[in-house]
């Protein structure tokens, strides 16, 4: 579904550019949940940004469903791939109602039966039509993240890029959103690429995890290997030990 080969990216700076991704190779199958874990600055979000088109000028090859990403227009890309961001407070336009927020992607695509699609997306994320006239500030953090997820699934994409979707939420709300992501994954046959700094959250949702450090993937491990402690790299061991010590 997603194939990333020798992806590198240099962030242009005022004097010299800085390499923030170095020789990334990932292959993600259809319907898989794949995780990226690492510390701040390790480059995990940068991979999502290259995929989503927020970063231009990367080197290497990315193919989505066999089609080269470099040759895909942004509009085509948004049909197959959508993103959910970390901060549900910043991701929704503060002066747009929920109706307008969900209508926007449909309007851009020029799709018909907008109202039905909006209602269906809202229902999919566990909200109802009473939310339509409301503004983001009238919603709780968890409800906002549900709206952001509804916006991502409304165009019926195959792939969802999840950038720390629960780290700004309380643990009880995190559980609700994780459950929602699990059930959407199953119902819509989605492929997830999720970024998190929390190994517990990643391992809950993802079958395989790439561990990142300083712009490189140090190791790709399966969930079973993680649980059994079958990890090779010293940094993975640090993360794992930390996660286990707190259970």
């Amino acid at each position: 579904m997603i194939s990333i080969q020798s992806l590198s990216f240099d962030m242009p700076g005022s004097t010299k550019s800085k390499r923030i991704l170095n020789d990334i190779n990932i292959s993600i199958g259809k319907g898989e949940c794949f995780g990226l874990v690492g510390e701040s600055g390790s480059g995990k979000t940068s991979i999502l940004k290259c995929l989503a088109g927020q970063f231009q000028g990367w080197e290497g090859a990315i193919a989505i469903q066999g089609k080269s990403l470099a040759e895909t227009s942004l509009k085509e890309r948004s049909n197959t791939m959508q993103m959910v961001f970390q901060d549900p407070y910043g991701a929704l336009h503060p002066r747009h109602t929920i109706r307008k927020i969900l209508n926007e992607p449909l309007a851009i695509k020029g799709l018909s039966d907008k109202s039905e699609r909006i209602l269906k997306a809202l229902k999919d994320v566990g909200l109802d039509e009473t939310f339509l006239p409301r503004y983001p500030h009238q919603l709780s953090g968890g409800q906002r993240q549900r709206v952001a997820i509804a916006r991502a699934i409304i165009l019926d994409p195959d792939i969802i890029l999840l950038d720390e979707p629960t780290s700004a939420l309380d643990v009880s709300v995190q559980a609700e959103i994780l459950n929602l992501l699990t059930s959407l994954h199953r119902r819509h046959q989605l492929t997830y690429l999720m970024v998190s700094h929390d190994l517990g959250v990643i391992a809950h949702l993802c079958e395989r995890v790439a561990v990142m450090k300083s712009g490189e993937i140090v190791e790709v491990v399966s969930r079973d290997d993680l649980v059994e402690g079958n990890v090779a790299h010293a940094y993975t061991k640090v993360l794992l030990q930390h996660a286990l010590s707190r259970e």
């Binding site: 510390e39 701040s40 953090g141 309380d170 643990v171 009880s172 995190q174 559980a175 609700e176 994780l178 459950n179 699990t182 700094h197 190994l199 517990g200 959250v201 391992a203 809950h204 969930r223 993680l226 649980v227 640090v238 993360l239 794992l240 930390h242 996660a243 286990l244 010590s245 707190r246 259970e247």
Partner: protein, 281 residues
Amino acid sequence: MDVLTVEKLNVTFRTDEGLKHAVRDVSFTLRNEKLAIVGESGSGKSTVGKAILRLNPPSTRVTAEKLQFGKTNLLACNEKEIRAIRGQHISMIMQDPKFSLNPVMTVGEQISEALSVHRNISRREAKEAALEMLKEVSIADPEHVYSQYPHEISGGMGQRVMIAMMVIPEPDIIIADEPTSALDVSVQQDVLNILTRLIEKKNISLIFISHDLNLVKKFCDRVLVMYGGRVVESIKANELSNASHPYTRGLMESLPSLKHRRETLPVMTRDQNWLTQEYTT
């Protein structure tokens, strides 16, 4: 010995939508220990910490039957007396060092300044003591860090600098409000270890405000669980896994676990009674 006694603390904010009763009848006694206050956003945990030092905005109404710090009645203190207590006797570490350090002053100057405010010493002595303090918080190259600005150091380093500044006047109590939640996991532990070492060495009591149950379970001695402005449970940290209040249990269970993965995580149903019912052990 009781370091701080809080009885029936109530805090009310004036907002556009009217009065908001953020803290309701909170009572606890702090001894020489690491006491955690945990809760979700909006539970009032930070407001409790700030109310002790009168750091809430001026429009806030704070009432209590008792707010006793050693021999001092904090309720009777005027602004000048409270200022003498802040930093010197009770100090506070905030969540993000980026916003609590002065961006246009080098790290070393800030520590020196903290020293000279609290002690009557020369500039050279202040610098030497600041370097000593940086060494105490495990900074490898104190001379170098001394002359750096806050934006040039990492988050973990910044938080160590904050700890150094707060520990300098050797206060009786440190209130730490989410001191590690802005940090990466691999540095969290270092910062906590440094904090523990210093407060044990200098006999400081700690109020540790956090949303992270797993963290306080390991790190603290006792835990107050707050919900809707009230303390719903007070429990020894190592007994958190056997908590009796449904809210505390719900929080513990909603965390994803590596060892015992569940396909669906339990979701809490909140009971209206938690907001009013008196909790008994």
